[in-house]
């Protein structure tokens, strides 16, 4: 979807040669939809429910291979720092899923294969 709508701003030179006047127009854009693709696997629904409200799945999928402890710490950081509403009971599933996703090809391309 290419829905760019930039209303260009005009730089009008004031007749008297004083500081140029700047005109500001409203601006709006439409961002591409996020397909939110995540590889199939146990725990996928938990990841979608708990981990994709604030950012696309590529945030998780692009990470280098990290340990279970590091994934657990990352989930904890989401909860304590960013106040992510994460279901505590789902955390083991989420971590299992992310570890399994990394064991595969872990291709971030899943957001946009064509």
């Amino acid at each position: 979807m290419r829905a760019a709508l930039f209303l260009p701003l005009a730089f009008l030179l004031a007749a008297c040669g004083a500081a140029p006047r700047v005109e500001f127009a409203d601006a709006s854009i439409t961002l591409p939809d996020d397909p939110g693709d995540l590889p199939e696997g146990p725990g996928r629904d938990s990841v979608i429910e708990n981990c994709t409200a604030c950012h696309s799945p590529s945030t998780m999928l692009q990470q280098p291979k990290i340990s279970r402890e590091k994934w657990e710490a990352t989930v904890k950081k989401m909860v304590t720092l960013y106040k992510a509403p994460v279901d505590e009971k789902a955390v083991p599933q989420i971590v299992d899923y992310l570890l399994a996703a990394q064991a595969g090809e872990g291709d971030v391309s899943r957001e946009t294969p064509r």
Partner: protein, 406 residues
């Protein structure tokens, strides 16, 4: 669901929680690129589907993280707006009404004011400056050992001409109190959850009052695109872009240190070298950029003609001061051999990209692990080895390629 709450804006924007998450949606157009990240995952989509953009590398759709492909740096020194990298920490507004936008200037000031865009534009002389805008985490994905965070290749940097008024002139509209120590900025982008830290950043007063620190509304003579912070963004030439707050809405003068998350707890790096696993070391905010340089005429693994002269080209920047020199260096600690490069014209001042080239008279064999090394006018050179740090900030190790002679 635990007790985290999404704010109204998040719900209105449809970014919401479980029930609202991840609408089924179409795929982006475009291809794939391999960023060469050690150990992977290294493939990323490229797409022209973001508004106002040509092909960009997609690190993340939401909030947008778009990396500039290195081929955009092959010619010239100004990165066109449609190739300029994009970085948002939290979800960004997609609509801004110019007439309703205000910039509140408050805190340690004589008289708090709320300024319209016209009042900002009339606050002082209009100034243009060409400066490199570079993410503190540029090249993080190339760190070895790898570290978590956005896995950028080297394209989270761009160079543009910025136009606006001096921040000092805007501050003068409110008048600084004697107790003023730092100046903090906030934009229209806010967290999706109650209690999460807003992306606000501050700089010391002496930096804020520099002649070249701007409140900018134009980028390469066009209105700032929304993706780059329409209607106004802070420009701090020579400093990493984390301080270049976008969609500027609040300027707050502080009387002491800034205890907020994005200054006190992150965007910091160790004061002395650390190893993976080290804990509890002192850190300082990541501020001024060190020098960097890149070869753009050839890629790793390219073949070159044996027995012939070879011209290599690229670009460099000095960081927070201008460039003194760029050299081509051979393999190994200290380089083994060096060849002085010819610097292109200093068209745009100390904070801009500058091109370089060098001709080797006679290629006798493979050129293994060659790289370019920039030195700035403070005498700071790019290091042979990565200065590893746990957040992958401020990469400026010599980037190396191998060319095969045939």
């Amino acid at each position: 669901m635990s007790d985290g709450k999404f704010t109204r804006r998040a719900l209105v924007a449809g970014a919401g929680t479980a029930a609202l998450a991840v609408p089924a949606a179409g795929k982006l157009a475009g291809g794939m690129i391999d960023l060469g990240l050690p150990g992977g995952p290294s493939l990323r989509p490229t797409t022209p589907d973001f508004p106002g953009k040509r092909d960009m590398i997609v690190q993340r759709i939401r909030p947008p993280l778009l990396e500039t492909p290195m081929d955009a740096f092959r010619e010239g020194v100004i990165t066109p707006n449609d190739r300029h990298f994009v970085r948002w920490n939290w979800s960004m507004p997609t609509e801004v009404r110019a007439g309703q936008h205000r910039v509140a200037v408050g805190g340690a000031v004589r008289k708090p004011v709320s300024l319209t865009l016209e009042e900002i534009a009339a606050a002082g002389e209009h100034v243009s400056i060409v400066a490199v805008n570079q993410c503190a985490g540029n090249g993080r994905g190339l760190s070895e050992p790898r570290v978590t965070g956005t896995q950028w290749g080297n394209g989270a940097m761009s160079c543009a001409k910025w136009t606006g008024v001096r921040l000092g002139d805007v501050l003068a509209k409110a008048g600084l109190a004697d107790s003023a120590k730092r100046v903090r900025f906030a934009g229209l982008d806010v967290p999706l959850t109650d209690g999460a830290p807003q992306f606000i950043k501050s700089i010391p007063l002496d930096v804020a009052l520099r002649e070249d620190v701007l409140v900018a509304w134009a980028m390469n003579d066009e209105a700032l695109p929304i993706l780059h912070g329409f209607p106004l963004r802070i420009v701090v030439p020579g400093w990493f872009s984390t301080y270049w707050v976008k969609m500027l809405a609040t300027i707050e003068v502080l009387t002491g240190e800034d205890e907020s998350h994005y200054v006190a707890e992150t965007y910091r790096w160790p004061t002395a070298p650390v190893k993976p696993g080290d804990k509890d070391f002192p850190t300082v905010p990541i501020e001024a950029m060190p020098p960097r340089s890149f070869i753009t005429s050839h890629a790793d693994g390219d073949t070159v003609a044996r027995g012939r002269p070879l011209t290599l080209e690229g670009f460099a920047f000095g960081g927070d001061v201008g460039l003194a020199k760029v050299e081509l260096v051979g393999a190994g600690e200290g380089g083994g051999w060096t060849a002085a490069c010819q610097l292109g014209p200093d068209e745009h001042g100390p904070y801009a990209f500058r091109r370089w080239s060098v001709t080797l008279p006679h290629v006798t064999g493979d050129l293994a692990e060659i790289g370019s090394r920039a030195t700035n006018t403070k005498g700071l050179s790019q290091p042979d080895a990565l200065v590893w740090n746990p957040s992958g900030y401020a990469r400026n190790v010599i980037e190396r390629i191998t060319l095969r002679a045939q």
